[in-house]
Symmetry: C2
Subunit: 261 residues, 2 copies
């Protein structure tokens, strides 16, 4: 199975600063890029953006259970994610990508925020049936803190490892991993090749400083580490720029950060 | 775990003769009946009605794969079910029932239309976390015919058996099982108690005649047989009449058909 995992960030598929607002132009373009690239042997994972995040934050789902008042919030976060997923799958179907919604998250139980045992066999079966499964980060049950948020980044990395994907592509709203936050610093430089030891160093410094100098990219690098260790080629690229995803899916050269062993 | 499974028929939650049309009055009333009755230790399953059925029929999903042109239909059927489920869960949340959408169907693989192995442990965990899982019939993968439709009736019966539910309540648009189709025959008589041997006889006659004299109730009786054999008390009642579900959930007497060993 020649398989690729495409993670679409919440900041790509939604307008992050407007609650429950899709980036319609972006998802229409991306759907057509996926369709033109062929769109088989592909699994898509997406984040929450302005759908899942505000509710998850309001009800403090990420850090686990502290009150029964959070229960509707858990469910409302999931409802928002289902709605976002639904719009995305319908957009892909309209572009003739045989997308199918697979709500794997309602089946995943994390152990203190980390995915424990999980069986992705059914995802493989959907691929073999000729479909493109579309999964997402979500509110999930947790063995230690009762519930939490499973990020699309973590889910995508785990899928890539378990399904032995050739490549894992993170589509974000900047060109890749920078030496500093490119949205704040004009002399931030794109890192085109990031080795495993470099990645681990970044994560260590980030943890020590309790800050993410790269502007939100550290979590992605952290989640991707295990995929890189397992031999998956990881690309972090700008999904808001035309044809970047198309070129990446076609195996053509594209400006991005490559994570390698 | 004192557990009840409530199956809400597609003819209850939707307007069957209008495509993609909810029976808003019915679901609002039922949500408030569930909330007033207490609404814990409960699993809700719903059918497809005017959401899932027209698409499943148009793309001939039920009888399995014969063309790649069915693939978008498989996904569209699922999208319609997700939408229906979403409206229902939101209505329950508005009524303060801690409902949570659990898309179990994307995890079930049938063997020639029958559920094979399935693990409902996660449904139990949602119940233990204080939530009311809401599942539904859906388009599913099949080991023999590649895909099919799994009915909410079959899913509800299997849940009742595997989770050792005390009761399985089928909410439909008539008072229960009749001696003839009550919508066509004025002298159709409600059968208040239906024994296992009587049930098996009905199914046998129905199969022999290739017709369902009870007006759509035969499939439900057929699916319920295994649950009754496993010791579950099954009720078939009119969910379109006020307080029938409320009374049933409270364990109070209600006009219905009781299926017993």
């Amino acid at each position: 199975l020649n398989l690729e995992i495409l993670k679409l960030g919440g900041s790509v598929v939604t307008n992050k600063n407007q609650p429950m607002s899709m980036n319609t132009a972006a998802i229409n373009r991306i759907a057509s890029e996926i369709a033109t690239a062929g769109g088989r042997g592909l699994v898509i994972v997406h984040g929450g953006g302005s759908y899942g995040h505000p509710l998850a934050k309001e009800y403090e789902i990420s850090n686990g259970y502290h009150s029964d008042l959070q229960l509707p919030g858990f469910s409302k976060t999931r409802q928002a994610m289902i709605q976002l997923n639904s719009i995305l799958v319908n957009t892909l179907l309209d572009a003739h990508v045989p997308a199918v919604s697979v709500n794997h998250s309602s089946f995943i139980i994390t152990n203190n925020k980390k995915i424990g045992e999980v069986d992705f066999k059914i995802v493989e079966l959907y691929i073999k049936a000729g479909m493109v499964p579309v999964l997402y980060g979500d509110a999930v049950l947790d063995t230690e803190i009762k519930f939490t948020i499973l990020s699309g980044d973590q889910l995508a990395a785990r899928l890539a490892i378990d399904l032995k994907a050739q490549r894992l592509i993170y589509g974000v709203d900047v060109d890749g991993v920078y030496t500093a936050n490119p949205k704040l610093t004009s002399n931030a430089r794109l890192i085109e090749d990031l080795s495993l030891s470099h990645m681990k160093g970044m994560v260590k410094i980030g943890e020590a400083l309790s800050t993410d100098v790269t502007g939100g990219m550290l979590g992605k690098v952290q989640e991707a580490t295990s995929a890189v260790e397992a031999g998956v080629n990881v690309l972090i690229l700008n999904a808001l720029k035309s044809d970047y995803i198309y070129n990446a899916l076609r195996g053509e050269s594209v400006v991005c950060t490559r994570l390698r062993r």
